[in-house]
């Protein structure tokens, strides 16, 4: 039978994939996409808990998470474009300006 644990297992696997991508990759855009994968794992977790406990609060938190993800993406991508204009690179190990 389909239970809550299926959804939490899927959520943990997706969160691990996003964390792996965030640590492994050097491209700032791919790091932001990995953040989106982690946020989607959190969305699955909240929606499944909200469904299985018959409480609507989890769906409302999912609504807020999606709005917050839109704001975070706008700010993050504008910062990436700004970094590319200044430094001509988007790789996180080549941005070494603050070392002095």
């Amino acid at each position: 039978m389909l239970g809550l644990t299926h959804y939490t297992t899927l959520s943990i696997v997706l969160f691990l994939i996003g964390l792996f991508g965030f640590i492994l990759r050097r491209n700032l855009i791919v790091m932001l996409v990995s953040l989106e994968i982690m946020l989607n794992a959190i969305i699955i977790l909240f929606a499944s808990i909200s469904h299985f406990t018959k409480d609507i609060s989890g769906y409302i938190i999912v609504f807020f998470i999606i709005a917050m993800a839109a704001a975070e993406t706008a700010i993050g991508l504008s910062l990436v474009v700004l970094i590319y204009k200044k430094l001509k690179t988007v790789y996180s190990d080549e941005i070494t300006n603050f070392k002095g």
Binding site: L2, N40, H51, I56, A71, K85
Partner: protein
């Protein structure tokens, strides 16, 4: 045949495989498109959880706005392909601790899945109430109990728009 499990396992494997391929791909355009595949599958997963409104929001906001924003930035920035991968050897112990914590959670969940009875069961046409859809419930709670949070998220979105415009304009004025 148990269609609940078939649909769930199809969606889960499609999401996991597309996100793994997206994270490991060298080309950022392939990454964004594979994550788009993952997000559409996740919208249908939310549909199996009984929320039509969140499915629509997921497709409109994520697939329609956020991923298109990523694609525009990928097209805007002329990238060469990433050839080498950095290996975090010095942070190996920290990574091992984090991996062990998450693997413990994953293994505990998997044990609970393969026991015969999960502690809460689900059936595929999920609804909170037969008389009202989830749009009614979300609107009712959002505008009664969560009104202050709704206003705050509106202000956060306004600040995001103003901040991104301000960041871009400041660089132009310095360059001129």
């Amino acid at each position: 045949m148990n269609w609940d499990l078939v649909i769930f396992y199809y969606l889960a494997f499609a999401m996991v495989i597309s996100s793994i391929l997206g994270v490991l791909s060298n080309n950022p355009i392939y990454t964004v498109l594979l994550v788009l595949v993952m997000i559409v599958h996740q919208a249908f997963l939310l549909l199996t959880l009984g929320s039509e409104f969140l499915t629509a929001i997921q497709i409109i906001v994520y697939a329609g706005a956020i991923l298109v924003l990523f694609l525009f930035v990928v097209y805007l920035i002329n990238l060469r392909k990433e050839t080498t991968r950095s290996i975090f050897v010095r942070r190996c112990s920290l990574a091992l601790i984090i991996f062990l914590i998450f693997f413990g959670m994953f293994f505990t969940n998997l044990m609970l899945v393969f026991r015969n009875k999960p502690f809460i069961q689900a059936y595929l046409p999920f609804n909170f109430n037969e008389k009202a859809s989830d749009v009614w419930w979300i609107a009712n709670y959002l505008f009664k109990n969560y009104l202050l949070q709704f206003e705050i998220i509106g202000v956060i979105l306004l600040i995001a728009v103003l901040g991104s415009v301000f960041l871009i304009r400041k660089v132009k004025s310095i360059n001129n």
